[in-house]
């Protein structure tokens, strides 16, 4: 942010980190107009990217190679996809899978036959292959067989898919992984950020790859319908295409990322909370904005009513959200014009509604003022630097922990259940897993993700050290005496300067829900229709309602969020 913005922001109250970074609240977040998919779509539409299939070699079963050439504002890219046969019993959304219906990559520049041939040797192998530094993303996906076959058959018969069927499962394919940031030989994030300005925001290349899989799924379905029944097949209507998203399965792998990148998470939170603060304190409450919010809530209510998930807990949360939003809409109708600002609404919702509804209202308020919010999408990057301040006195370090990590010191790790879980990496593709301490093997290889306990340990050692030496002694000397504290001291000192960033919860506690971590990150991505499959992984839908390729260049209202099923 620039200085002028900072000066203004300094006068706007921000929600406290204790409230924002509470794990349960993070697990109640929703997509917003600052979510990465929303920002990406605005960019594509604003800059009028040209995206065209330049190779489309699929056989009668839909297997083969497809390349879309992408002309963005600054560079040309190629999205390359390989579609292969996969038997139903081989189809597995887990990280440990080794075969997929489609594998794909996004790479810099236009590519030739030889490059495609080279990619064909490695891209389908995913983690087991090697790619090069011109590639930005390596990803894969599996068919939602039931939906895909249904859509192909109805198109082949000359009809359109029923929107009610697509409302239940709003995608034809699910992505099961989208790797970037230098994995398997790909371009480093630093290279992407500096040399590919079209994808210089966090995860934008990964999001774009998922968007392109969505496009491919539509194109493939149309192609197969046409091959199956050339005389009767029809193309998919545009409104149906827009309602088709891309499924996603996300598991524990996403959770360690949030813990290991607190500065980045803090930056995302800061941008979102700054937006909320601006809207709440600077946005005018009047007939126009009240009407706009009422319309948005009506749309969200319908979206929720169309969201069917098997998970009983999520179903209950959706029902509560529906009922509470209905209530909030009534309250706004009766009291909206008496609100001096949106803080009145926020306080009312905080007092009367669940966290799920509170965070939904916060997200929806951002929709009212694009002019206050959208520029903050430029603030999502941070150069992460974790540094020791050796000149800090031990008394100051102790004070920093007591002030900034009060939440961690308040956790009683002697309580039964406080150390229930440990996080570790499995030998199977280094998949992050959660084990039961003292019951499952691997505790000695625990990953240092339970920050609260590490802070407590550091604090206790610090207190002993101060008693033995001096509170005026310096951190430089403490770290010679206690060299194994280097990592956590570096983190504490660095993060003490950030307002948000540390997730305030005990990640080893028996009541900890990994889903909360996943949902936090997925909400920043911009997904919808959370469909938990256990406490450890969740299905969801990406880009449902988003513009399709033929929409690029046309007027764009940026209102595709929380889509509803509309028959033509």
């Amino acid at each position: 942010m620039n200085d002028a913005k900072n000066i203004i922001e300094n006068f706007l109250p921000m929600r406290p980190s204790k409230q924002v970074m509470d794990l349960k609240r993070l697990g109640s977040m929703h997509q917003s107009r600052l979510s990465f998919m929303r920002a990406l779509m605005r960019k594509i539409m604003r800059e009028k990217w040209s995206i065209k299939p330049t190779v489309f070699k699929l056989d009668e079963h839909g297997y083969g190679t497809v390349v879309y050439t992408v002309q963005a504002k600054h560079n040309t890219y190629s999205f390359v996809l390989f579609s292969n046969y996969l038997s139903d019993d081989e189809r597995n959304d887990r990280v440990i899978a080794e075969k997929w219906d489609v594998t794909m990559t996004l790479c810099i520049g236009e590519i030739n036959e030889q490059q495609i041939a080279d990619m064909k040797e490695n891209v389908p192998k995913q983690e087991a292959g090697r790619v090069n530094s011109n590639m930005l993303v390596l990803a894969r996906g599996n068919k939602s067989s039931r939906n895909f076959d249904y859509v192909v058959n109805v198109l082949a018969d000359g009809h359109q898919p029923l929107m009610s069927q697509l409302a239940d499962v709003g995608y034809l394919y699910r992505t099961t992984a989208a790797y970037g940031s230098g994995k398997f030989g790909m371009a480093d994030w630093a290279k992407v950020k500096n040399q590919c300005p079209d994808f210089s925001r966090p995860f934008s290349a990964e999001m774009f790859t998922c968007y392109m899989l969505r496009q491919f799924s539509i194109d493939q379905a149309e192609s197969l319908a046409s091959i199956k029944s050339p005389n009767t097949a029809v193309p998919m209507d545009d409104h149906v295409k827009r309602y088709i998203g891309i499924g996603n399965s996300t598991g524990l792998g996403m959770a360690p990322y949030l813990i290991r990148h607190p500065q980045l998470v803090g930056q995302w939170m800061l941008a979102r909370e700054t937006a909320l603060s601006r809207v709440v304190y600077q946005g005018e409450v009047n007939n126009e904005t009240l009407g706009k919010l009422a319309n948005i809530i009506t749309k969200v209510l319908r979206h929720i009513s169309e969201t069917k998930v098997p998970d009983a807990i999520q179903t209950k949360r959706n029902e509560d959200l529906y009922n509470e939003l209905t209530h909030v809409q009534e309250w706004l109708h009766n009291n909206g014009l008496t609100c001096a600002d949106w803080q009145v609404l926020v306080r009312y919702v905080e007092t009367n509604c669940s966290m799920e509804t509170q965070e939904m209202i916060n997200s929806l308020l951002l929709e009212l003022y694009p002019e206050l919010v959208d520029e903050l999408e430029e603030d999502f990057c941070v150069d992460e630097r974790y540094e020791i301040q050796p000149e800090m006195s031990l008394s100051e370090l102790k004070q920093v922990i007591e002030n900034k990590y009060k939440w961690a010191l308040e956790i009683d790790f002697s309580q039964q259940g406080a150390n229930c879980f440990f996080w570790y990496r499995s030998e199977e593709k280094m998949e992050p897993r959660l084990g039961l301490r003292s019951i499952e093997p691997g505790e000695e290889n625990e990953m240092p993700l339970t920050i609260a306990r590490l802070v407590r340990h550091c604090y206790d050692r610090l207190c002993v050290d101060i008693a033995k030496y001096s509170a005026n002694d310096l951190v430089a000397y403490f770290l010679i005496r206690e060299s194994d504290m280097n990592g956590i001291v570096k983190r504490i000192q660095t993060m003490s300067k950030d307002y948000y960033g540390e997730i305030q919860g005990n990640l080893a506690d028996k009541n900890m829900l990994p889903l909360d971590l996943l949902r936090c990150k997925l909400s920043f991505f911009g997904v919808s229709k959370f469909d938990p499959k256990s406490k450890l992984w969740v299905r969801n839908t990406m880009f449902q309602g988003a513009p399709i390729l033929s929409d690029i260049g046309k007027p764009f209202a940026d209102d595709w969020y929380f889509p509803i099923a509309m028959e033509k």
Partner: protein, 259 residues
């Protein structure tokens, strides 16, 4: 084979975690090695030669860095005994101690005895320079005086070598100096120049090698753009070391990933 920076950092982190480095320590190690390699100073070869030592480190951990490691703690000078360890372990604390002393005295230096892989100290020198100080690191091997200085006005330091036999009146060839790393921090360039005048008359000798900040920067950019070359057998050695931190997969453990 070529690999990305992120990928190699993850690989080295896991390898060093596998040989018993602590949280913080293995991150440090990976950062120092990759930074040095990307900036054209070939850290991979020297680290590869020492991996067997690191593998033995688990047994040695209990002996490492007990409080008497800090042998001398004077107003502007400290002496640390690295006990045969790599600068991966010792350089950070050497610069930190010099820095906190220089904050008060303007110039301070740390002598690190029995220290290996001294070239890797360059990353810690850069970190210290980023605090707004001018920094110097130097060491001697059997034939060469190596000097790294941040006093360049650029984002990267400069790396110089001098042939020891060309130097006059130096005691630098004695056994004591053979595994010693000297690091210096100064709040102003004049303080560093004064230190050099008093302690490093050898720098008037003939340079045999210069790696300029520009060369370092361009080496980094090339590595970032094209990937970093690493011998595939070294890669495999690191993978094997890293496997120490992985946990055997069982049906029960698969449940812990959401199966």
């Amino acid at each position: 084979m070529r690999a990305s920076r992120n990928e190699l950092i993850a690989l080295f982190k896991q390898a060093f975690e596998g040989v018993g480095f602590d949280f913080g320590g293995y991150e440090n190690a990976a950062d120092m090695i990759i930074w040095t390699q990307m900036h054209g100073m070939n850290s991979f070869q020297s680290i590869r030669n020492r991996m067997s030592v690191f593998e033995q480190r688990k047994q040695l951990l209990a002996e490492q860095f007990v409080p008497d490691t800090l042998l001398l703690d004077a107003k502007d000078h400290s002496v640390i005994d690295a006990k045969g360890n790599s600068s991966i372990v010792a350089a950070g604390m050497a610069f930190d101690i010099a820095y906190v002393k220089a904050l008060k005295s303007g110039v301070a230096y740390t002598t690190v005895l029995n220290c290996h892989d001294r070239k890797l100290a360059i990353k810690k020198l850069v970190d210290c320079a980023n605090r707004g100080f001018v920094c110097l690191a130097y060491w001697r091997d059997s034939e060469t005086l190596h000097v790294i200085t941040s006093d360049t006005g650029f984002c990267c330091p400069e790396y110089l070598q001098y042939k020891l036999e060309d130097l006059d009146g130096s005691d630098c060839l004695n056994e004591k100096n053979q595994q010693t790393l000297f690091v210096v921090c100064a709040s102003h360039a004049s303080g560093l120049q004064e230190y050099i005048a008093n302690n490093l008359p050898e720098l008037k000798g003939n340079q045999t090698f210069v790696m300029s900040p520009t060369v370092m920067k361009s080496s980094y950019m090339a590595a970032l753009t094209n990937g970093i070359e690493i011998d595939s057998s070294f890669w495999e050695e690191l993978v094997v070391l890293g496997k120490e931190v992985l946990v055997e997969s069982t049906e029960q453990s698969r449940m812990g990933a959401g199966a």
